[in-house]
Symmetry: C2
Subunit: 442 residues, 2 copies
């Protein structure tokens, strides 16, 4: 029996992370980690639902919710099988609707909403197949994976035939890598030691905790004040020692010339990479910075909005680390394109996961990338942030700096119903209590 | 007495242009030209209001309206003087709000909404000063114009000091150019002869009309079918003769390799430019096409979302014609940045005006550009589309292929109240009649 999507429910869920400066950086002093959350209701006898979200940092989340509601008629009433039978056609139907396309195209709010809906369909698909999403992807025929990709605008860098060849070359050895990941997990780094709004003593304390917990990769935020950056970099380097890996993240706060000067000044702390040194749109600027700050690698991607931009970042030798976000790109389909582009250009993929639900999402992408696309762990580490996992039914499991491979069916993105109810904006219990000046007792 | 913005009203206005295929092209077969329209109500004794809009093609217009409503608190309750006293700070406040910025940044729906609000403030400012917008800009001190620009991310191509120098060099001769434009108007081209959805005989008829009306520049749509493009190009070239200028517009429908092949095949019809040959995000792709199709110029801009992208199109020698849209960029402030970037790189600006209200807007930009920035008409022609002007209180006046300089105070974007009422979606009289299957008698 086919499964019909009977309704599409969009919800505005916001968490008050700004109160403790969790998530604060040079561009975002007071984020409230939020999700424009979508539930695909179905007539499946087991009551299966597809869940997806796109991530925002507070104000404007309602605009993404409005966009999800606008796109909803494209999937409401469709059967799951009619979508999964040709995932490429499904993606083009959502991302390519000509009238909606005008308000992107393939960028900004409408693309964020596309991600939420597309990922909800993949979640439903994986649940229906009884597999975690990464395993569903690994088990799909490589021809089906390639058909899921929209190659429009990227054929000058990657053709379907090349993509097929690349995937086929990995098939014989996939089982070994799958067994390895099930046994050892996937390597991770922590961003939770060095948020910009934390005072020095909190950063020092967090670094000691991170080292004790077995982390070997630590990321710090930089960018507002040069002297403070150097002071904090020295402090963190002192705490983590010379052998652990330090990364730096400027969150787009510099112009090209300033970025070059500031990264050169910070190079003595031996950062592995400088992340988002300038505008995410500035391909040529990233290339200029990358040439000027060797051996520090340039990383970007959390705000890079589609495969056309990633194609150019690869073509221009602008990045040494590729950081796509499956909730910023148009969902899993476009992520597949970016994983293959990065692999073709030999650039390691370290997805962006600094937001609510993003660790849950991106672990599937990194594990699939290793098993089926890149076949390498060299330079691959997946971001981890410590907060808000308690709101998910299948939260990430991280031990000694590694993600355990998800076991449950789906995309791990289903939130606890009580969390949705409490943090729905503006009328959930938490936000009502907040407005009333009362304590929220959960 | 200061003028306070007492309310911000956002409306969803849609016109049923798809019924006659007006506006149809290779990517947009059935656009309903629409406006996410904003009215800034004030306590000004003369009842002054600021009007602005962003343009969409139908579905999704409600998402832009939601974004305008989300941004509205940033200006509601402010005095006009507190905004115009530092237009740069005003722009950064709207475009740079850190939480809203996440859902762009500076692109897509939130940037379209920014354009509507920013332009409404400029409209109010011009009305308060009793000048058409182009004249207000011409009369502002050059220091004030430069202060209105956000130079973030473009200082590697253009500094505030350079911008100031460029504007100062034009001051002595501005009065001559202003007199010339008041006398002769600004040169235009027509897009209304060659919409893709028109049958050949309608195209032929429209071309004859255009020639009879004095048009010397005609643009046609291409892209879906190679044979049809060549047949229509031959037909149009036959109608307009060898000396009039023909432009071609592919509306993003090709990949890079296809674009090169198709433009080379169309070169025998001697198009002045090929517009939007591929993705608007593909800077390197445009550069590759530009190198391959000389002497046809590559043009793009209507979907180029911000100054960072235009900077790179200039730096990469990717365009020979720059087509910014003041409703796609973040309004007048960002348009100033793009006019100056293009002037520095010696690239003529021919703004995009193919949409409801865009001719009304862009005439002010082109006239200002000529008088105060470029000081040249060489290669400058402003797009004209023939439909929907009747809905504006101060519609464009075009005679013998030239725009007359607007005389009335403001940005010419105020719609007739009866048009707003009739075409408000979904409950205006037109749309009610449409749903009821009845004729709208207006």
């Amino acid at each position: 029996m086919p499964t019909t999507i009977t309704d599409v429910v969009a919800r505005d869920i916001r968490f008050p992370t700004s109160s403790a400066r969790d998530g604060s950086d040079a561009m975002n002093p007071d984020p409230d980690y939020s999700a424009a959350y979508v539930v695909l209701r179905t007539d499946h006898p087991a009551g299966l639902e597809g869940h997806g979200l796109t991530f925002t940092i507070g104000r404007g989340n309602e605009v993404c919710v409005a966009a999800i509601r606008a796109l909803a008629p494209l999937v409401r009433g469709r059967t799951l099988e009619s979508l999964t039978g040709d995932m490429g056609a499904f993606w083009r139907m959502v991302a390519g609707d000509s009238q909606f396309r005008w308000i992107g195209p393939e960028k900004g709010v409408v693309h964020l909403a596309t991600a939420a809906i597309v990922n909800a369909v993949w979640d439903l698909y994986a649940k229906a197949e009884g597999k975690p999403l990464w395993k569903l992807l690994v088990d799909l025929p490589v021809e089906v994976l390639v058909d899921a990709i929209d190659f429009r605008y990227i054929t000058d860098a990657l053709t379907p035939e090349e993509a097929l060849d690349m995937l086929r070359r990995r098939v014989a050895t996939r089982a070994d890598r799958e067994a390895e990941i099930r046994r050892d997990g996937f390597p991770a780094y922590t961003t939770s030691a060095g948020w910009l709004g934390y005072p020095d003593n909190k950063v020092r304390h967090r670094c000691r905790e991170a080292v004790a917990d077995g982390w070997t990769y630590v990321k710090m935020k930089v960018g507002v004040d040069a002297a403070a950056d150097e002071r904090r970099a020295a402090l963190i380097r002192e705490e983590i020692g010379p052998d652990r890996v330090l990364m730096m993240d400027a969150n787009q706060c510099w112009d090209v010339g300033t970025a070059i000067d500031r990264v050169r000044a910070l190079a003595r702390f031996r950062p592995r990479w400088i992340e988002e040194p300038t505008s995410p749109d500035d391909i040529l600027g990233h290339a200029a910075i990358a040439r000027a700050v060797v051996p520090v690698a340039v990383a970007t991607g959390e705000h890079v909005h589609n495969r056309v931009m990633f194609k150019q970042l690869c073509q221009a030798n602008a990045i040494g680390v590729c950081q796509p976000d499956v909730a910023r790109l148009g969902g899993v389909n476009e992520m597949l394109a970016v994983l293959l582009l990065a692999a073709k250009f030999g650039i390691p993929v370290c997805p962006h996961a600094g937001g609510v639900g993003l660790c849950e999402y991106e672990q599937h992408m990194s594990i699939f990338d290793y098993i089926a696309v890149s076949a390498s762990l060299e330079g691959r580490v997946l971001e981890y942030v410590a907060h808000l996992h308690e709101h998910f039914l299948d939260p990430v499991v991280v031990r000694r700096g590694r993600y355990a491979a998800p076991q449950r069916a789906g995309f791990s993105i289903t939130m606890r119903p009580e969390s949705c109810a409490a943090y729905e904006f503006p009328d959930g219990d938490f936000w009502r209590a907040q407005r009333a000046g009362a304590a929220f007792t959960g």
